[in-house]
Subunit: 331 residues, 4 copies
Amino acid sequence: MQFLSDNAAAVHPLVWEAMHAADASDAPYDGDGLSRELDARFSHLFGRDCAALWVATGTAANCLALATMVQPHGAVVCHEEAHIEMDEGGAPGFYLHGAKLLLVPGEGAKLTPETVRAAIDPIRDDVHQVQPHAVSITQASEYGCAYRADEVAAIASLAKQRGLGLHMDGARFANATAFLDCSASQAAGAVDALSFGCIKNGAMSAEAILLFDPAAADVARYRRKRAGHLQSKGRFLAAQLLAMLEGDLWLHNARAANAAAQEIAGAAADRLMHPVEANELFVRCSAAEREALRQQGFGFYDWGADAARFVTAWNTRAEDAAALARALAGL
Amino acid sequence: MQFLSDNAAAVHPLVWEAMHAADASDAPYDGDGLSRELDARFSHLFGRDCAALWVATGTAANCLALATMVQPHGAVVCHEEAHIEMDEGGAPGFYLHGAKLLLVPGEGAKLTPETVRAAIDPIRDDVHQVQPHAVSITQASEYGCAYRADEVAAIASLAKQRGLGLHMDGARFANATAFLDCSASQAAGAVDALSFGCIKNGAMSAEAILLFDPAAADVARYRRKRAGHLQSKGRFLAAQLLAMLEGDLWLHNARAANAAAQEIAGAAADRLMHPVEANELFVRCSAAEREALRQQGFGFYDWGADAARFVTAWNTRAEDAAALARALAGL
Amino acid sequence: MQFLSDNAAAVHPLVWEAMHAADASDAPYDGDGLSRELDARFSHLFGRDCAALWVATGTAANCLALATMVQPHGAVVCHEEAHIEMDEGGAPGFYLHGAKLLLVPGEGAKLTPETVRAAIDPIRDDVHQVQPHAVSITQASEYGCAYRADEVAAIASLAKQRGLGLHMDGARFANATAFLDCSASQAAGAVDALSFGCIKNGAMSAEAILLFDPAAADVARYRRKRAGHLQSKGRFLAAQLLAMLEGDLWLHNARAANAAAQEIAGAAADRLMHPVEANELFVRCSAAEREALRQQGFGFYDWGADAARFVTAWNTRAEDAAALARALAGL
Amino acid sequence: MQFLSDNAAAVHPLVWEAMHAADASDAPYDGDGLSRELDARFSHLFGRDCAALWVATGTAANCLALATMVQPHGAVVCHEEAHIEMDEGGAPGFYLHGAKLLLVPGEGAKLTPETVRAAIDPIRDDVHQVQPHAVSITQASEYGCAYRADEVAAIASLAKQRGLGLHMDGARFANATAFLDCSASQAAGAVDALSFGCIKNGAMSAEAILLFDPAAADVARYRRKRAGHLQSKGRFLAAQLLAMLEGDLWLHNARAANAAAQEIAGAAADRLMHPVEANELFVRCSAAEREALRQQGFGFYDWGADAARFVTAWNTRAEDAAALARALAGL
């Protein structure tokens, strides 16, 4: 009964099917028919023109997107517990050629206009201090919290006013959209670039970088190749992305993961450190309680000394979620 | 009748099968059982200890390998038509943080101790000039020529004597090994790192970086993550690599591609620009002749104004190879 | 009556004199007799072998020193108000090719073994997190506090135990040494590299990078050239450094600046935010008080909303220091 | 009798004088009155608006200028013997974050529209190949040859047409201008950025980066700081530059060096490898002849096996030039 992460869950059968179908083509790189369909399909989904580039990891997606907005001498404003700061092995420093991350605190790993301003207003406009070039937010956040449309709008407005690019790390964008029960466009707001996550949601090895600025798309294409991320059999990545979009599989899968998370959340409401607005639960529990849960066969990560993190996935079994709910209720 | 490249050929059924089998696990990154098997399997194949890391592209493999040998202020000696110089979109400059490629001419896109010496001996040992830190050779070369064991040994000996690392780009290492009819160990010689190519040889999206120096392996692991190349479902890459090794599928596939190339070569012997020692043919032919071939349904790249490049793959059909042989003979 | 900074103070007459004398030579780069004397002179001063390289700025000195210890995928532990973090325009990100600064809080802008441990102990030894490669401390600190020999020793011991390099930013090393009334060697402790500052202490445009590891010196020489910091008339930088060492001018100048700072400190003891152990004073005072001081002709920087920073220099006039002391006492 | 180089020649008395005068100010960085005068003074000299930034070396000037034109994934077209390729220790790779130098052959180390086109036209407009972002030419060239106004214009026109920035390395711009007997503006043509050299021409440690694009100036200011090239006592660099401009000292000095070169050239006309259009002479002579010259007390560099390089400077003594002329004539 695995709740460690959604990042290595099984591949959805429809994704497998699409990948097999893609084997028929032999056009290299992103010259195949599937890759060429991506721009139109994602533009349609988001209701505005974008370029859609596949890459194999969320880290590559985030960093390539940011590289279109941030010069080497600039900085990205992000939450101090953002994935790009905590879990990407310094990839932003690599991709952005030494640009800085300006870390901002805040509830639920979310930024607000206030916290962004508090970080950037003290920066003197002189060459001794690194100037912000972009803001990056995570939808859903690293604590499983979803930005509402007005929250994104407020940050986007501040970013625009200050001349900053706005990037959204959407590793769990599907879960946020499903939770918010809104359109993709509403969940993304006026971001300039979005890392549209699929791997945690049933794909094997494909994320989409969505770039709403055509000039940025051109840069990202060169940078993707330069980073060794332009696969010669890219059709298999395109196939995964298209399979996720087809029939809204991305939402279907996310709803399943969210529902499992909600069931568990219901049983542990008083222990929750953050509202459950996606498929992650951060649950206060003692070492002894965690040990008891592990004895019952549940897999999960400790979260500091006094909590545990549980993540559901598109394929979390109903009985496993129910069992965890019972176990948490019974602690 | 496609002879454009082997880089986007179909995925071998045994690779598909292994990938499906890998779906059962859900251990993330390279913590799964398949990934953990790689070091032992490749060490066995090469008869000496190595660390084996999967990555999704040959560019990433080459650059991560070189990054273990070359400091940002150093240089890599390579052929002026090497893939790292010509076709990787500047990836070495990115991964090596601005280190330089020192370009060397030479027949068949091969280096020799003499040409390497001619490039590095004039470099004064002072800070005004970039010093070589490594040599990179391609097996088989960009013109489909295989280095014999004594040729690699001579370069390795020079590299060792000058304190340079030795990297081998083995995007078509299988084809070279099959042609030489020797062991993997003999085809690689005393290189410090090898990009063991599989994608052009029946895999979907996995190459192996083989590092024969344990300290280098540690650096490469951090750099792989930092480059966004550590896939969370890495088991699917490991599965591909293991499938290629299983029952020597890698050699089996390469032999098939080589045999098709030899059949075609036999029919165009007097037109060959380079000996055919792998699965690539560079064939002198006029624009009119190329047009005639295309009229007959053959796909291939022009190679300058007076030649064409034909590449066979593991799945080139016998009848297509025969047809091309006939067509070339009939020109 | 200027207390803005020591960083642009006049050049000491003996420095001018040495520079003029250097004009006689015409050996380029660091091949002149003066540059060649540096290793021996600094090795003598510190009582252990070191390589001494001139550079034109403290930023270059810090970053080139760190570049010998930190790989691009690593990190430097430093205080959150360290000069390298706050005031170098992102130079560490540039020179270290994207390596990270791990920021540590602490009284007086000083690190302790405890705060360093608190920063690095939670870092899991896996590739997802950036690993520390070095620690950087500032002597005297950014708040004008001097590390005692045992404090440096404790940090050096921790660094050694964890395999981390130890760098000391000595932009005001002279002031710290003068305050501690100890030898250069005692003030530096077992650091691996020291940025020996002269520019704030009477030189024009020369700092010394001292590298106590010969391998590091070799790297730093290449990196200095690569950063455009190898001046062809380097003899004028060497001359400045030698003039500072001659007759202990560096200590003489620092003592003068420190004495002026102490006189002022004596008059504002109850307003001091930090002990005055070099030539900087951080003084609590209201906006109105600051305005009053400015009306009296004193130049200085605001330090947040409720304080001011005063910096003395080697050439601060006794009457100016006395006047400031009186003015502060009279607030 | 020193003809090794002009790069370490004595500092002109008027430069010393200006530096001493600058000691009176204590405004830091480039906030002093002298630094603030630079834009206007250079704009006047060149007859169009530019930003003028001091830096301490030609390498820094070239690389910072190029960094305003070239993205990390791009390339600079330059001569294969350009200083940026041969003598800057890989600094372009560092400052341009791994961008490439595309090397072009050509007589006299000069580029022509034809050779530039030959280098860039074969580059396919796809992500596998590094795209040119700028062209860099050297005035006077590394072989002491001056570009005529129409030659620069032709290159500038090509650059503009292809969307490439145009940089001029003017380490010996003064010598070229003096030789051409034209205005600064005519010698520079329509370049986007110029490294205006002074150090080889009587200054101590100051070159000017001239940026004719205001947006580029902003980037260059941040990058200069980030590279550790923003000196806190920058007034001493500004003073040098202003002294060079004052009364056309830059031309006066260059004319002196050129005249000495011409005298020598006159005596060795049949041995010259390149026309002498600045202050460098490349003279065919055997090892025995070089030995004979050295015996007579002349200092110079060998240039390959069959030639020598002689460089005159602003302060080359008439009798030394005459002696060398006689000696060469007498070989």
